[in-house]
Symmetry: C2
Subunit: 450 residues, 2 copies
C-alpha cells in the first residue's frame, strides 16, 4: 500500500510518523514544496527578535529523520494536481521544473494555509513581507538586514501582528498596527481586548483602528508609506501583512473534493474527506466546535498535530477520531499573555445561547511570594444551567494555566459550580490559596443564583 | 441569630467572611487562640529562608478587617468546651486566664490540626521545633537566631520536611532528613519519589530512610544529637519535627460530636456534623475522595478555604455542598516541583481498581524557547475504560499546570482518550506543540489498546 502525503510542516509530518508507527509495512511518500520539513512556524517571531538565537532550532525534525523511519521525503516537490478516480497525483519537481506522477492508495492533504495578500497598489514593493513558511521567514529577515527599517506598519491586529510588534520593537523599529475593525485581537470580548490595547500603547506601539490600508507608496523602489482608507499616511520602511490566512484548498478543489462552509476542506471525525481514502489535516482542513457542533476553521500548530495524528492513524488502517476543537488560543505580546478557550460572550450569543459572564483580577501566586503577577480572568457560563461556555485571560502571569484549566473543564462539560470547588494544586510558589479560576467560577456561580 | 466560629486561620476566617456575605444581619463571633487570624501557614518556610522578606506579609487579613465587616474577633480566646444541647461554649481568655460562656445558634468548628510530637527522650529540649502556627513559627525563628545551628535533622520526609530542607540549606545549615519508611514523600509512586530523592541528595541533603528517631541527646541543655532506631547518631544543633499532623478534635470529641474513620470530624456534604447546626471545616474536618467515595482527610489550606466557604454559607442559612477532594497536592523543594492529584498506582490498587500507567518526560515549553524545562508526568487510568485515575508530575518546569489540567480532567470524569485530543493552549513561550499531559495521555491510550 502506498500512502502519499501532500505537505510536510506540522500535520503532514505528524501524519507520516503516526502512519509509520501504526503500520511498519506501508510505503509512505511525503512531498513538501519547501527545502525543509517539520518546522515551527509559531517560533518565527522569536527568531526575528533574537529571543531564539538559532534559526536551526526552529527545525523540529529533518528529512533524514523521516527517511530513517522509511518515509520517502521529497523536498521542493509540490503536488500540483490530483485525480481521485485514477488515484494519481501529479508532482512538480521545483528544482528541475519537471512533472512526475505517482499512484497512491491513500492520500493525506496537508497543504496548509497562506497569508492573505490584498490586491492594492504597491503590494509587491520591496519591504512588504509576510510570515508563514521558512521561505517567507528568510525574506522577512533579509528585508530587515537589507533595509534596516526605522519604522514599520503591521497590517492586522491578530495574534501574528501582535507577536511581530514585540519582535520589531525589540529590534528598535517603531511600530504602527493598522487594523480594519475597531479593536485589536477582536476574538476577545471588548473589555478584555482593551487590556491588550492598553498594554501595547504603553509599550509605545501606535495603533490605528477602524480603517484598512488602501495603498502603499514607494520611495526609490522600496515601500515608504502606507495610506489608509481615510487618507492617513503612515511612514513605513517595512510593511508586515498579517491580515489573516486562508487555507490552501486549490488542489482539493481541482480534484472535486468537497469544501466546508468555512472554506477549508470538509472532513469527517476520521479526518477523511468526501473521497474515500483521501484525508485532510492541519491548516487546510475544517474542524468542528465541540460546544456548538458548528464547522470551524482552527488553523493552529497544535490542532494540526492532533489532526495529523488522527489522519495518519486512519490512513494506515487504524480507526481514530478527532473530536473537534474548542478554539483555544494563546500568545504573548511584550510582557502580556493573552489566551482564550471556548466561546466568548459575543460568539455564545451568536450561537443562540444565553451567556452570563464575570471578570475578576487576581494574583497568580500567593500575593507575598516573589514573582506573583496579576491576571484578569473572564469566565462565561450558560444562564440557568451554569454550564461553562468559555474563558479569556489577560495578564503578566499564568494565563496559560488558567486557559488550560478552563479548556479541560469545557472538555468535561463542567458547570461553574463544579469548578468553584475544584481541588487544584495550591502552594504559595504556584498559586494563591484559591486559584483565580476558582474565584471567577465562584463569582459567576453567585451571579447565576441571583 | 448568633454564629460562633472556633478557630480563625483559613477555614474559620473564610467561613466568617462567607457567612457575613450571605447574611448581613446575623451576629458572628470568631474565637482564635493566637494573637493573629487569617495567616498563611504554607508561606512559613519561605519567610524562614528569607525568600519572603516580611513576616507581616504572611498575614492575609487582620482582626480589624473582620471587625469592619461586623465580625466580632476575640484573639487569644480558645473555645475550651462545648455543650451542644444547651448550645453553649465555654471560652478560655488566655491573656486573663479566665473562662467565659457564650450561647450560639450555629457553630463552626475550625480548630485545625497540630504536629505530631512523639513521646521520646529529649523531645522537649531546646532546639527541637515544629512549624504550624505563628507561635511555632516564631519559636522556630528564635531558635535559628539564638542557636545559630550548623546542622539540622528534619524528622519526616513529607512535604513540610522537604520544604524546610530547602529553607535551612539556604541559611547554610547542613540538613539530614530522617524518614521512617523506605522512601521520601511516600505519597508518590516509587519511580516518581526516586526523582525527588535524587534531587535532594544532589543538593547536598543527607537522607536516612527506613528508620525512625528514638531519642535526642543534649549538650549544655540544648539538643545536640538525634539517635535513630538502628543506633545511628546524627549531629543536630536543630531538630525539626515534621512527622505529620493530627486534627484537633478534642473539643468535638468532648461534646460527643461524631468523628469519622480517618479520625477527623465527620461531616456531610453541607459540612454539618452529626449535631444539627454544628459545622466543621478545614484541617479538623473529614472529607470524601471524589474518585473512590471513601472518607479521606485532606488538611491543606485551599481545601480549608473551600470547606470554610461551604460551612459559612450553610451556617448563615444558605445551602451549599462540598463535593469532596481529589487529594491534589503540590510543593517545591529547591528547584524541583512535585505535584499529584487523584489516585496513585498504589492507592488505585488499594481501592480495588485495575490501574494502567505511563511515565513520560517532556519539555514544558517549545524546546527552543528560552526557559523551557523538563518535567516527568505519570498518568494513571483504569484498564478497559481508560478513565483517568490520577497524575503525578516532578520536574523543574510547569508541574502545577500539568496537575491542574489533570485535576480538572478527573473532575470531568475524562478518559485518557478524551485528554489526548484536548484543545489546550499552545504557543512556544507557554507549551510544546503538544502538552506533556497530551503526550502522556496518548501514550497511555496506546498502552490501553494493546
Amino acid at each position: 500500500m502506498h500512502l502519499i502525503i501532500a505537505g510536510g510542516v506540522a500535520a503532514g509530518t505528524k501524519a507520516a510518523a503516526r502512519a509509520r508507527r501504526v503500520n511498519p509495512d506501508i510505503a509512505i511518500t511525503l512531498y513538501q514544496d519547501e527545502s525543509v520539513v517539520s518546522y515551527s512556524a509559531c517560533g518565527q517571531p522569536y527568531w526575528l527578535s533574537g529571543v531564539i538565537p538559532s534559526r536551526e532550532s526552529l527545525i523540529i525534525r529533518r528529512a533524514s529523520d523521516f527517511e530513517a523511519d522509511g518515509i520517502d521525503v521529497r523536498l521542493r516537490h509540490r503536488v500540483s494536481s490530483l485525480n481521485t478516480q485514477a488515484r494519481i497525483v501529479q508532482v512538480h519537481d521545483l528544482d528541475h521544473d519537471r512533472l512526475e506522477t505517482a499512484h497512491f492508495d491513500r492520500l493525506i492533504l496537508a497543504t496548509g494555509a497562506r497569508p492573505v495578500i490584498p490586491a492594492i497598489p504597491g503590494i509587491e514593493l520591496d519591504g512588504v513581507v509576510t510570515l508563514r513558511t521558512m521561505v517567507e521567514l528568510d525574506r522577512f529577515r533579509s528585508a530587515l538586514d537589507r533595509l534596516q527599517p526605522k519604522s514599520a506598519v503591521i497590517v492586522g491586529g491578530g495574534y501574528i501582528g501582535l507577536e511581530v510588534a514585540e519582535s520589531l520593537q525589540a529590534l528598535g523599529v517603531a511600530v504602527t498596527i493598522v487594523e480594519r475593525v475597531e479593536r485589536l485581537f477582536p476574538r476577545l470580548d471588548p473589555e478584555m481586548g482593551q487590556r491588550v490595547h492598553d498594554h501595547l500603547t504603553g509599550q509605545g506601539v501606535r495603533v490605528a483602528l477602524g480603517e484598512g490600508m488602501v495603498e502603499m507608496i514607494e520611495n526609490e523602489g522600496r515601500v515608504a508609506t502606507v495610506v489608509t482608507a481615510s487618507g492617513r499616511q503612515l511612514p513605513a520602511d517595512l510593511v508586515v501583512l498579517a491580515i489573516g490566512i486562508r487555507p490552501n484548498i486549490e488542489l482539493a478543489e481541482q480534484a472535486g473534493i468537497a469544501l466546508g462552509s468555512t472554506g477549508a476542506i470538509a472532513v469527517d471525525p476520521r479526518m477523511e474527506t468526501n473521497v474515500n481514502g483521501v484525508f485532510a489535516a492541519g491548516d487546510c482542513a475544517e474542524s468542528y466546535h465541540r460546544l456548538t457542533g458548528a464547522p470551524v476553521w482552527g488553523p493552529l500548530g497544535d490542532i494540526a498535530n492532533l489532526q495529523g495524528r488522527v489522519a495518519g492513524e486512519n490512513a494506515a488502517g487504524g480507526d481514530a477520531r478527532f473530536p473537534g476543537i474548542l478554539g483555544t488560543a494563546i500568545f504573548k505580546t511584550f510582557d502580556l499573555n493573552i489566551g482564550l478557550t471556548g466561546l466568548t460572550e459575543a460568539t455564545a450569543r451568536e450561537a443562540g445561547l444565553s451567556p452570563v459572564a464575570t471578570v475578576i483580577s487576581a494574583q497568580d501566586k500567593a500575593r507575598y511570594y516573589p514573582g506573583a503577577q496579576e491576571l484578569t480572568v473572564k469566565l462565561i457560563a450558560e444562564s440557568g444551567s451554569g454550564r461553562l461556555l468559555g474563558a479569556q485571560a489577560v495578564g503578566l502571569g499564568a494565563v496559560d494555566k488558567m486557559i488550560d484549566i478552563a479548556a479541560t473543564a469545557l472538555l468535561g462539560g463542567l458547570s461553574c459550580r463544579d469548578l468553584e470547588n475544584a481541588d487544584l494544586a495550591y502552594a504559595p510558589p504556584f498559586s494563591p490559596v484559591l486559584s483565580p479560576i476558582i474565584i471567577a467560577a465562584s463569582t459567576l456561580s453567585r451571579k447565576l443564583s441571583v
